[in-house]
Symmetry: C2
Subunit: 146 residues, 2 copies
C-alpha cells in the first residue's frame, strides 16, 4: 500500500506528536511510573508550580470539568497530586503536584529533550528552529488559551 506523499497538515502534525507521547510514556513506564494513563498525564502536564484549579485544568486540557475531576481523582489516589484549599476562594481547591509527580516530570522532561535533540539532528538546527517558530506563531490562531 502506497501512502501518498501529500498528507494533510493535520496528519502531519499528529504523527510526531503521537511519536513523542509514546516515547515519553515508554520511558516513564520503564522508570517505574506505570500507574497513570495518557489522559491523566495530559491533565497533570498542565498543573502549574503553585497549583492550578480544576476548572482551569479542564479548560486547558479541553475536557469538561467532570472529566478533569475524574482524572484528578485517579492521580490523587495514585499519589501524584494533592488538592489544597484555595486561600482566595472557599469554593475552590488548588491541584498541586506531589513529589512523586515532580520525579516523573524529571524523567519526562529528559526524554522530551532527547527526542527534540534527535529531531534537530534529523532536520538540522535551522529547520528545527523554523518548525518551533512556526508552531509557536500558530498558537495565536489555534490556542484559545494563547
Amino acid at each position: 500500500m502506497v501512502v501518498e506523499s501529500e498528507l494533510n497538515t493535520g496528519v502531519l502534525l499528529f504523527l510526531p506528536y503521537r511519536a513523542l507521547e509514546n516515547r515519553v510514556f515508554a520511558a516513564l513506564a520503564e522508570a517505574g511510573f506505570d500507574d497513570f494513563t495518557p489522559a491523566q498525564a495530559r491533565v497533570m502536564q498542565r498543573i502549574g508550580p503553585q497549583g492550578t484549579r480544576l476548572t482551569e485544568l479542564a479548560e486547558q486540557a479541553q475536557v469538561t470539568k467532570q472529566t478533569a475531576g475524574f482524572l484528578v481523582d485517579q492521580l490523587e489516589k495514585a499519589g501524584y497530586v494533592r488538592r489544597v484549599p484555595d486561600p482566595t476562594d472557599k469554593r475552590a481547591r488548588l491541584v498541586c503536584l506531589a513529589e512523586k509527580a515532580r520525579a516523573a516530570k524529571d524523567v519526562a522532561d529528559a526524554v522530551v529533550a532527547e527526542v527534540e535533540k534527535e529531531w534537530e539532528e534529523h532536520l538540522g538546527k535551522r529547520r528545527m528552529k523554523q518548525l518551533r517558530e512556526a508552531l509557536t506563531l500558530l498558537r495565536e490562531v489555534t490556542d484559545p488559551w494563547a
Copy 2:
C-alpha cells in the same frame, strides 16, 4: 495564570492538530454528517481508494485490530463503508468507502483547505511551506509507516 512561552514541542504540535480536527468536525456536523465520531473518522481517513484491509487500518491508526474492527462495524452500520471480499486472500476483506463517505470527505477536504489557507495567511507563505517541509521530513523518524 501565566502560560510560559516555551512549550515543549509535543504540546506545540498537539494544539494546531486539535484545532484543525475540531474545525473539520464542526463543519461535518453542520453539513449533516453527525453520525460518526472522531475515532471512527481517524480510521475512515486511512481507507485507500481501492479499499484497505482491517489489519492495515489498525496499524496505520495505531490501534489494535479489535478496536479497528469495532469502529469499522459502526461505520458500516452508519453506511459510510462496505466490506468486500479480498480477491487475493480468502481470509481478508477490503474495507471500502461508500458514496456517503466520499461526500463527507469532500466537505472535510474543503475545510482542511480553508484552515490551511488561514494558517498560511497568518504565518506567511514562506513559513507555511517551511512548516510542511519540516513536518514531512519528521515523518522519516516518527512515522513507522513512512
